[in-house]
Symmetry: D2
Subunit: 290 residues, 4 copies
C-alpha cells in the first residue's frame, strides 16, 4: 500500500455497508467495470451477526467514463435499493488535518515528520493547543498555532472558538495527539471526524493516568490505542492497537517512555489508514481494510 503520487494516478474509493444479500459484489463490481474502471483494490467482509455486508473498492479514475461529479449520483441509484450507507473519496482530494496537543511533543513531531516524508497524503495547516508550550515547534515548521486555554468554566465557549477555527481552516480531520482535554458531546456531534491516541491498551486503564495504574497493577505488557472519538470517553471505535513488554525493572517513568514509542506508531498507523479510506465504522466497531 505505497503512496504513489496521489495526483499522478488518482483513484476513487467507495466504502459501503448494507444489509447482506446475494449479488452485492457483482453489482458493485459491474458498476465500475461497465463504466470502464480498473479496480486496484477490492475487499469485503460480512458480519453475519449483524447481517451486514461491508466493502472497500478502489479504482483508477483514468479511463473511467463517468465524470467525477457524476459518480456519486450514479452510484446513489445503485445504493438506494440496497439500503447502503456509503462514502466516496478521491485520492487527489488531499484532506486537511488539525493536530491538537497539550504539552507533550512526541506525537506532534512524529506526525509532522511523517507528513513531510510523504507517509500519508494530508496537509497539516493547523495546530491547536490548550497550552502555549509547543508554539515554537509550529513556528519551526511554518504551521499556524492557536493557543486556546480551557478551564471547566470556559470549556463550552472555547469549544465554540475551536469549531470556528476548524471551519476557517477547512479542516477535515482532527488528530488528538496527546491533547489532554475531553471533548464535549456537543463538540463531537458537530465535528465527528476526530482520532485520539489513548495511552493504554483499552479497555484496560480507560480514563486518567493509565501508566501509573498499569504500574500499580503490575502488568507485564502495556499498550496504546487509537480510536475515533465519540461522546463516551475512551469508548469509541478502535482503529489500531499495539503493545510492548515491560518488567518489574520499569518504573512509571519507563512505562511513559516506552509508551511514547507505542503512541507515535499506533497513532500514525491509524491516521494513515483513515486517510487512505481503509477504515469503515459500523456500530462501535471498525473494519480495517488493510
Amino acid at each position: 500500500m505505497p503512496i504513489a503520487d496521489p495526483k499522478a494516478d488518482p483513484t476513487a474509493t467507495l466504502l459501503i455497508s448494507c444489509p447482506d444479500q446475494r449479488g452485492l459484489v457483482a453489482k458493485i463490481a459491474s458498476f465500475i467495470y461497465s463504466n470502464g474502471g480498473n479496480i486496484i483494490h477490492a475487499d469485503q467482509h460480512t458480519d453475519r451477526l449483524a447481517n451486514l455486508f461491508l466493502t472497500r473498492i478502489e479504482w483508477q479514475i483514468e479511463g473511467f467514463n463517468l465524470p467525477r461529479e457524476l459518480i456519486a449520483p450514479a452510484f446513489s441509484a445503485i445504493a438506494q435499493p440496497l439500503q447502503a450507507q456509503w462514502r466516496l473519496r478521491f485520492s487527489d482530494d488531499i484532506p486537511r488535518i488539525a493536530v491538537w496537543v497539550s504539552r507533550q511533543d512526541h506525537c506532534l513531531f512524529d506526525l509532522i515528520w511523517r507528513q513531510r516524508a510523504g507517509e500519508f497524503a494530508g496537509e497539516i495547516p493547523l495546530i491547536v493547543s490548550n497550552h502555549a508550550d509547543l508554539g515554537a515547534i509550529a513556528n519551526q515548521f511554518g504551521i499556524d498555532y492557536h493557543h486556546i486555554p480551557i478551564t471547566a468554566d470556559t470549556k463550552l465557549e472555547q469549544e465554540a472558538k475551536q469549531l470556528e477555527i476548524l471551519q476557517h481552516y477547512k479542516i477535515d480531520l482532527v488528530v488528538l495527539a496527546k491533547y489532554m482535554q475531553v471533548l464535549s458531546g456537543g463538540f463531537v456531534a458537530q465535528f465527528p471526524q476526530v482520532i485520539n491516541i489513548h495511552h493504554s491498551f483499552l479497555p484496560a486503564f480507560a480514563g486518567a493516568n493509565p501508566y501509573q495504574r498499569a504500574y500499580e497493577r503490575g502488568v507485564k505488557i502495556i499498550g496504546a490505542t487509537a480510536h475515533y472519538v465519540t461522546q463516551d470517553l475512551d469508548e469509541g471505535p478502535i482503529i489500531e492497537q499495539d503493545v510492548v513488554r515491560v518488567s518489574h525493572r520499569d518504573q512509571v517513568a519507563d512505562l511513559i517512555r516506552k509508551g511514547k514509542d507505542l503512541e507515535r506508531v499506533v497513532l500514525a498507523r491509524a491516521v494513515r489508514l483513515h486517510l487512505q479510506n481503509r477504515v469503515l465504522v459500523y456500530g462501535n466497531r471498525t473494519v480495517v481494510f488493510a
Copy 2:
C-alpha cells in the same frame, strides 16, 4: 474464520491468478451471482510488478444453480480467455493428511490435538517416520504408523515406497512435522503438496542446526518458518513465520525449547490456512488471503 461444520453448510472456493486486466472482479462475481451463489468471502490482490491479478472467492453451495460437477467446466469457459490458473475446492471434501516425523513429538501431538479439537477440517489417517520412536503415539490415537528408515543408499527406493503409501492412503497433503530428512527433487515433482516447518526465521540459518547457529551469532530474536517444499532446500514459498525474543541467558537448549512453541503454532497456522484454501502460490511467493 471459524469452522462451522463443513458438511452442514458447504461452500465452494476458487483460487485464481491471471494477467491483470479490467473487469476481472465483475466477471468472476457475475459468474457466481448469475448462478444464484451467495459470496461469503472475496479478496483480491494485484501484483503490479508481475502484472498479475490474484483472488480468492468463496460462496455457499446451497442455492447455487449449477450442480457441483458442472462448476469446473463452466468456470473453465470463463478462465481460458483470461489465461487464468485456478483451483476449485469444496469445503466438504475433507483432505487427507499424512504427518511425517522423525523423533520429536511436539508438532505431531499438536496437529493431532488440533485436528481432534476441530481447528481444521482434515483427516489424519497416516503417520510416516524414518524412526520407530513415535509409533506409540500413533497407536494411542489409532493412527496408522509406517516406519520407513532412510539412509543415503536407500533414499530413492524408500521414497518410492513412501509414494506408494501416500497413494494407498489417498493422501492430499504431507505435513513435515520435524521430519529431519531432505526430500529428493524427484519426490517433490511427483508429490508437490508438502508443507514443512523450518526451525529458523528463514532465510536466516537455512540448513542444519539453526538453533546452534542462532546461539553462536548472538541474535536477540529467533523464529520459525512454515513453507511449501520445493526442490531447493529451505527455499520454497513461505506461508507463515513468527518469532520470539531470547536473551543472553538462553542457552541452545532454551532456544530449542522456546522454538518448539513457535514451531507448533506456525506449522498449525500454515496447515489451517492451506486447508481453508487461503494460500495462493505464484512464483516463489504466496498470497495468504487470511
Copy 3:
C-alpha cells in the same frame, strides 16, 4: 535457563525481600562464599518506592560446606536482623502439581506434554475437575482423576473435600488450567499456592466471557494472563502475559481458538517460572527473575 537433570547437579535457591540498606548483596554473597558455595545465578531488584530490596540467588550444593538441613537455620541468623522475608528451595525437591480443569483440555494436554518432555521439573499425580469429561485423558496418561462437582450450594463442603485431596496427594502447587469455578476466600487462605490462567489481557475484561466482550468492544489485540490466585477475583499478582493480533474477520469462535494458543503458552511459562523459583511476590506485584 535449561533444566539440567535437577537430581544430577542440585542447587539451592533463595528468594529474599527486605527493607533496602547498604551491604545486602555483600552479606548474602559472603554467606554463600564463606561456606564454599558456587553462585550460578544472582539477580536483584530494588523497588525504590517501597524501599524494598528483592533478590534471587542460586548456588550449587556440591561443595557447599553446610549440610542441607543447616542452611535454613544458618541463613535465618542473617535474615532476622535484616527483617527479611525469604524462601529456600532445593532443585531436587520435585514439587507435586495438581492440575484443575473443567471441560476444556488444551491447557491440560499442554502441561502434561511439557512435563513429560522435561520442560519443567514437577510431578503431576492429580487432576481435579468439576466435570467428568476429561477423565479419559487422565486415564490415558495414568494420572489420578477426581471428579468433584460444584454447585452454589455445595461449594464450601466440596472445597473441604478438595483441600483434603490436596493434602492426601501432598500437593505443592495447584494449576487452574481453565477451571471455570471461583475459589472461595477461605480456600485460598488455606492453600495459597495457586496459579490461574485468565483468558484476557487483564485488567481488560476481568470476569466472565472475556472473548465475547473483546469481540463486542472491537479490540485489535487479545491476550492471556497467568496470575496467582488471591481472594479478589482476577486481581492477583500477574506472573506472565502475552497477546496476539486479531482483526474484524475474527468471530468470537476465532478469538477463542487464537486465545487457546496464548493460554497454553502463557500458563506454561508461568508454571515453569514458578517451579524454578524465579517469581517473588510482594504486595500485589511480582518480580520475575527470568
Copy 4:
C-alpha cells in the same frame, strides 16, 4: 531504568568479565560495601560454555569512601588476580556522540528528539555525512555538520579526516544512523566505539538492499538490527533487534516505510543501553543487562 538527573545522584558502574570461579559476587560486592557504597543494580551471567563470569554492578557515589580517582586503581588490585577485563563509568560523565548519516533523516531526527527529551544521557555536538542534504536539520537544531564526501578513491584519506574530526570534538561514540558507507577495518581499529543500524533481521539479508531482497523472498516478517561495528561487515555483536509483520500487500516501498519505524526504535534502544553501560561484549556476543 529511568534516568534521574545523572548529575544529581551520580553512580559508578563496573562491567566485568573474567574466568568463572567461586566467590566472585562476594568479592566484588564486598569491595563496594566495605568502602561504604550502596549498590542499586547488580546482575550477573555465567557463560558456562566459555567458562566466563560476566557482571554489571552500579552503586551510588554519594557516601562512597573512595575518591573517584582512586576507584579504578583500587579495583585493579582486585581484578588483576581474577584476570578480569573491566570498564568503569561514572553516570555524570556525559558521553559525546557523533551521528553519521547519508540522505535519510528518520533516525537522525529520532535521536535528536530523544536526546532533547532526556531519554538518554549524551550530548550530540556533531553530525557527519557523506552528503550535504541533511545540513539544514543540523542547522535547525544548532549542531555542527561536517560534509565529507566519500568515493572509492578518496575513502582512506577521508577517513583520516573523519578521525581527526572525532578527536577534535572529543567524541566517545559514533552512531551510524543510516550512514550508507562501509567503514574500513583501519578506521574501526582506531575508533572501535561505533553502533550501526542494519535494516534487516540479521543474519538474514546481510549486505545491500535488504528490503528488496526480503520482498523477493516473500518473508512474512521483516526486522532491524543494531550492532557494534567490526571489521566484518554486518557481523558485529548484536545489541538489539525487533521485527514487524508484513503481508503480500506490502510492496518494497511499504517494507521501507515499515522498516523505518523499526530502525528508529531499535537504534534508539541500543544507543540508550550502551550509554547506560548495560552492554557487555565478549567474543562476538553481547550480554545486555537490561
